[in-house]
């Protein structure tokens, strides 16, 4: 029997109040008492709370007694809102029958909202429009309703009006979920098939998966297998249960339910999208998995301390279990030693992944400049893909270099159209179209090289539009460009980790800025260090880091040497965070300099 179950997720543009609404639902259903309520409970990672964004999907099971007098089980699967995390969104949608679409009562429908609505529609989900932040004086419910109907094409007449912050309209949301989201199909009598939509590594339990039972049922201690990752291996469902959102172990999971399972799976492999079935009377056909995510951005990730290579390897494997959209390949750098070339869905995704690796696995890491995949045709007529600037063949050996382009939609209030067109122009954008959504808002459509979006485009977009503009983009294909490799030399030695591929027209500017930035960020050494930017053999910019001249500790007062000792130890500790390149000590931040050239 599945008629009492409702599986739903929440889709919303970033900042439209998704996490706050999720919190209110948990509170209202007494899933979490007020006392336990930590602001934005579902944002579990420290990083999520600090940045105010959801990165990882989370699930929560709520019990709700509806106005019809019946008891329902509501499973909420939280989703991230940022453009980079679309893959996570599609995973959570596949486990649901319905979705709440949150639209800010002031901001209205945003480009990103659309992308996620399409994802939901592809998954045949019932979509319930929820208009949030109606308490704000600037809210305009009628306009937003009209937008939902005009732009998305959904009937907004029954949209639920909510202020998650003030707790208005929460019971109406719950009633709408019960009324409108269809219950899961009752396939209880079929052989077990459960779709894994998330997983993480627990040092005691092994791999813990989150899954949605599509067909059949699963009992505790039943023998199971993973249909694509390990079809020949047998595991035991040692612990199964619900997330409320804290784990609650149960004896049995029924058809239609959302649950976690720990089955002593130790081998680290990607499980997301896999199907769980029983050994006895199991299903023969796995469920359709997900479209594998395609990374757009690549960068090298290296341990500051080369001895941490194996820890890093282990950490990346564990992180990939939790975030299967990351790809990784071992690589070596002359400057940084052994590391990995990792692929990410976007720049934010890359930053978040690096920070998670550092925090959750206690590593000191260096990420090299992000790169897209370039297609290079050599003079012999071969085409090779280059995801690391160091591998770009010499100019004499290459016929042409092509780079990926995207079609970008920038939605903004009309006052900012001018400044955003400037931005796109600076980034080699090609204007395609301009549409007026309504009297206030305009959509700019540009074609842009992906590489140009990867540097601080998003930050610039936000700062130039005071946060109002939004961006969505999709890759359109490859185009030839006049691209060159810019190298950086410290003390006349090439530092491969600083190399980047850039458009010829920008190489001088970037070279000069990089040299200036590095001069600022690399502390004085015991000797003079020239910093040079070069294209091939041609030096295009130069700065000099002067030699350190004085570094003397002051008093050793009255035989009190403790402070001096501390200072020396601190100095030594500080060195650990530096990477020695040749004889030059380079701080971690210097490797990020390449990313942040735009803040002049």
């Amino acid at each position: 029997m599945t008629s009492h179950i409702r599986n739903f997720s929440i889709i919303a543009h970033i900042d439209h109040g998704k996490s706050t609404l999720a919190d209110r639902l948990l509170e209202f259903t007494n899933t979490v008492s007020q006392r336990e309520m930590q602001e934005q409970l579902l944002d579990n990672l420290d990083l999520e709370r600090e940045r105010g964004i959801t990165i990882k999907l989370q699930t929560a099971r709520m019990d709700y007694k509806a106005k019809d007098g019946k008891n329902y089980v509501l499973n909420l699967i939280d989703t991230p809102g940022h453009v980079d995390f679309g893959y996570e969104v599609s995973r959570s949608l596949a486990a649901c029958e319905g979705a709440l679409l949150i639209v800010d009562a002031t901001q209205g429908v945003e480009a990103q909202t659309l992308a996620n609505v399409y994802l939901a529609l592809e998954n045949d989900l019932e979509i319930i429009p929820v208009i949030n932040k109606i308490d704000l004086p600037s809210s305009d419910v009628d306009r937003v309703k009209k937008e939902i109907e005009d732009i998305i094409g959904l009937d907004a007449s029954e949209a639920v009006l909510v202020s998650a912050k003030e707790g208005i309209g929460i019971s109406e949301v719950l009633e709408a979920i019960v009324d409108k989201v269809p219950p899961p199909k009752d396939n209880s009598n079929e052989p077990l098939r459960a779709l894994i939509f998330d997983s993480y590594y627990d040092p005691y339990r092994g791999i813990v998966v989150s899954m949605r039972v599509i067909d059949g049922e699963l009992k505790k201690n039943e023998q199971i297998k993973l249909m694509s990752a390990a079809p020949k291996q047998t595991f035991e469902a040692l612990e199964i249960g619900y997330m409320r959102p804290a784990k609650q172990a149960v004896e049995e999971i029924k058809c239609g339910e959302v649950a976690y399972m720990a089955a002593s799976i130790k081998e680290i492999c990607s499980l997301v999208g896999d199907t769980v079935t029983t050994i006895e009377n199991g299903s023969k056909n796995p469920l359709p998995g997900y479209k594998p995510a395609v990374p757009m951005v690549y960068c090298g990730i290296y341990p500051v301390n080369s001895a941490d290579y194996h820890e890093l390897k282990d950490a990346i494997e564990k992180l990939r279990l939790n975030d299967s959209s990351i790809t990784s390949e071992p690589e070596t750098s002359a400057a940084l030693g052994f590391g990995f070339r990792c692929g990410f869905l976007g720049l934010l995704h890359m930053e978040v992944a690096k920070e998670r690796l550092e925090r959750e696995y206690n590593l000191n890491l260096i990420a090299t400049a992000p790169s897209v995949i370039y297609k290079v045709t050599t003079i012999k007529g071969e085409t090779i893909e280059v995801d690391n600037p160091c591998n770009l063949p010499d100019p004499v050996l290459r016929e042409k270099v092509e780079e990926p382009w995207v079609k970008a939609e920038l939605t903004c209030p009309k006052d900012y159209v001018g400044t955003l067109m400037d931005l796109c122009q600076e980034r080699r954008g090609v204007f395609i179209d301009m549409k007026h959504l309504d009297e206030r808002r305009t959509v700019l459509i540009y074609e842009l090289p992906l590489a140009e979006i990867l540097t601080d485009f998003f930050d610039q977009l936000k700062s130039r539009s005071r946060g109002y503009a939004t961006l969505s983009y999709e890759q359109t294909g490859y185009k030839e460009g006049k691209l060159v490799r810019l190298d950086i030399k410290l003390s006349s030695e090439n530092v491969d980790a600083f190399s980047c591929i850039t458009h010829e027209s920008k190489a001088y500017y970037i070279g000069r800025r990089l040299c200036e930035k590095l001069k600022e960020l690399i502390p004085r050494q015991m000797f003079e260090v020239p910093v040079q930017a070069a294209i091939g053999n041609k030096i295009i910019a130069r700065e000099t880091i002067k030699a350190m001249r004085k570094n003397v500790l002051a008093k050793c007062y009255g035989g009190d040497i403790s402070r001096k000792k501390k200072l020396l130890e601190k100095q030594k500790e500080g060195k650990k965070k530096m990477k020695s390149i040749g004889s030059v000590e380079v701080p971690q931040e210097a490797f990020l300099a390449v990313l942040k050239l735009g803040d002049e």
Binding site: R524, M526, F527, K546, M548, R549, K550, N551, V552, L553, A554, K555, C556, Y557, G558, G559, D560, I561, S562, K564, K565, L567, L568, Q571, K572, K575
Partner: protein, 344 residues
């Protein structure tokens, strides 16, 4: 006449004397140093009491060096005469700077005239062993300001100079104004370098040896007491916030007076890292570190372990090695922190 302060001094010195008696073991004493805060504000009779107690409980040698840190404005000529009478034979005078405007900002509570008076009285009374404490790198201090202060110091005909660059410590009024270091009023690394080098040049010209990173003296006038610290030798410490190194243990007294009076001297044992301390202290001295001794004590052969680094430093003229002795050059002194941190 006893005012409130006087009572405080009395009870402090009483506990101090009790501590000396209690912890003494009758060893030989070669140097005595009154330092930290402003010991020169203590009335002469109390200083006499402390010295008497030391003489009673230790074997104080006849050629003992007794230093009193003296802040200008806290002593007059009569007091200096009495102190000399008691056996004080070395004065370390906290001049800091001879610039009237800079001394005001330092809020040291004394004037340039008071500093000069103190020096002159001491000399008239026959004190030969006088040190001047100077600070460079003060906010808005120019190179010329600094030159004037050095000039004035040497004009006085003293035999010892200690010189430190301003360090801004947290939780001080200076820190509130200037933060950590990048304040535009503070001299930058290049200017600090010039100032320090200028002092080195002056000292060389005037026949002063830079026998330690921050200390300059005419031959024979080195501070015996401070050499004890830098040679990593043991010493007793008595009284509030005093440090000591006895029987291989470093200890610090509480910094809180009340705590000192009540909690049987409030001593706390500090982390001790003899190897690091040996390296860090001895390399501050011109006489340097004996590599053979270092190897036999800690089992570490610096030449083997840090050969490349040492070669690099020798080539750059930062370190010199003669037989078993390793020492920083004058140029190396300027980068001592950097060098030492790489060698530990």
């Amino acid at each position: 006449m006893l005012d409130h302060k006087g009572e405080k001094y009395q009870s402090y010195v009483k506990t101090l004397c009790y501590e000396i008696e209690n912890r003494s073991s009758g060893e030989d004493i070669e140097t005595i140093y009154f330092g930290g805060g402003t010991p020169s504000i203590l009335p002469v009779d109390l200083i006499a009491k402390i010295l008497k107690q030391l003489r009673k409980n230790f074997k104080v040698r006849s050629d003992v060096e007794i230093t009193l840190e003296t802040n200008p404005g806290t002593v007059d000529k009569l007091k200096l005469a009495n102190l000399r009478e008691l056996g004080v034979n070395r004065l370390s005078i906290g001049v800091q700077t001879f610039s009237e405007s800079l001394i005001k900002k330092l809020a040291r509570g004394h004037t340039v005239k008071e500093a000069l008076d103190t020096i002159h009285w001491a000399q008239e009374l026959g004190f030969e062993n006088i040190n001047l404490d100077l600070i460079y790198g003060l906010p808005k201090q120019s190179f010329v300001d600094w030159q004037k202060t050095i000039d004035k110091a040497f004009e006085q005909g003293i035999n010892h100079i200690s010189c430190y660059s301003l360090t801004i410590e947290e939780n001080t009024p200076f820190h509130n104004i200037y933060g950590n270091s990048n304040h535009p009023d503070l001299p930058d690394e290049d200017l600090l370098f010039e100032m320090y080098e200028e002092l080195q040049r002056y000292c060389l010209k005037k026949g002063f040896n830079q026998y330690e990173v921050s200390n300059f003296a005419k031959p024979g006038f080195e501070s015996k007491h401070n050499l004890t610290y830098w040679r990593n030798q043991e010493f007793y410490g008595f009284g509030v916030s005093a440090h000591e190194y006895i029987q291989g243990q470093r200890k610090a007294h509480t910094r809180d007076l009340q705590n000192y009076l009540e909690a049987s001297f409030g001593q706390e044992t500090l982390d001790c890292n003899p190897q690091l301390e040996e390296l860090m202290l001895k390399l501050r001295l011109k006489e340097g570190l004996n590599l053979k001794e270092y190897k036999s004590r800690f089992g570490i052969d610096l030449i083997q372990d840090k050969g490349d680094l040492l070669t690099e430093y020798i080539e750059k003229g930062l370190i010199s090695i003669n037989k078993d002795n390793c020492n920083l050059t004058y140029k190396g002194f300027l980068l001592s922190t950097q060098i030492i941190s790489q060698l530990i």
